[in-house]
């Protein structure tokens, strides 16, 4: 994708609670708004939310990527989720993305308790860039704003991923963070 141009983008929310309407999807409209502000001519499509099933997410990414859009944004399912707590949702967007992408960079944010709070993946398939953002509104917005900022500077996948992770990290009240 030309760093300063975006013609088509797909937003793909995930989460059983989003699909069922138990939780309002606030993230997709915000991300759509951010894309349109940055790229007034972009056509942005918000797809039907997906259930938290890794294969379902994988298949949908494959299907959408065949249309060769400039960008696909997956929302939610970025943490450790069910791996950490039985009462939490199943988080599969990062694992589905990593299975699908040939070329990608990722950053994982862990709490001091060892729980993976968020994993952000940024990659490419052909000319399509595919990223994920966390579900919480402030984190999704911060991550996507960081993506747009990095994109405008023509940064590498690795640096885009790092900028997005740092933007999410900044949403936590952390005194210190270290990269390992």
């Amino acid at each position: 994708m030309d760093e300063m141009e975006m013609k088509t983008a797909y937003i793909l929310p995930t989460g059983d609670e989003i699909k069922s309407g138990i939780v309002l999807d606030l993230d997709a409209p915000e991300i759509m708004c951010l894309i349109v502000r940055a790229f007034p001519q972009a056509e942005v499509t918000r797809l039907c939310p997906l259930l938290d099933i890794e294969d379902t997410i994988f298949q949908k990414i494959s299907e959408v990527a065949e249309k060769q859009p400039d960008l696909i944004v997956l929302i939610g399912g970025s943490g450790g989720g069910h791996r950490f707590s039985k009462s939490l949702g199943k988080d599969f967007t990062h694992s589905a993305l990593e299975k699908y992408l040939d070329e990608c960079a990722s950053h994982e944010i862990y709490g001091k308790n060892g729980h993976m709070w968020s994993k952000l993946v940024c990659g490419r398939k052909g000319n399509t860039t595919i990223i994920n953002v966390p579900g919480p509104f402030d984190e999704a917005k911060a991550a996507f704003e960081a993506y747009l900022g990095a994109l405008s500077q023509g940064k590498s996948l690795e640096d885009i991923s790092l900028d997005m992770a740092n933007a999410v990290l900044a949403q936590y009240p952390t005194g210190a963070a270290k990269t390992v």
Binding site: L24, R83, S106, H107, E108, G111, K112, N113, Y172
Partner: protein, 120 residues
Amino acid sequence: MEHEYIIAHADKSVLKITGLEVKGLNTKQLEQILADKLHTFVRVIGVTGENIEMDVYDIEPEQVRKNEKGLVESIVLTEGITVTDLTKISCSDKIVEVDYDKIPEEPISNCARERWMKWK
């Protein structure tokens, strides 16, 4: 593929509200209402039709527990929440720090906590 790990050094507890009727929840509004009430940072991490689970940062769990009635009253105004007679609030103890040097490597699991628990 490049992978990096970042460790966030934040204290948090898990605040759980059970016995609700949830439909069309505005998570942003709920986080703001509770943040104003508790004077701290709140993040919704899990929602079902009856329960809401949240991370609350930098607060003593006891402070949340003793404020249960006030918290339930405050969330009544949140879009998408109906409080019932069964509504209750619980709050876990603060998270326990693990020693990252002692966590086994993959491929046991992608989650370090899980690897740490299995190792332990």
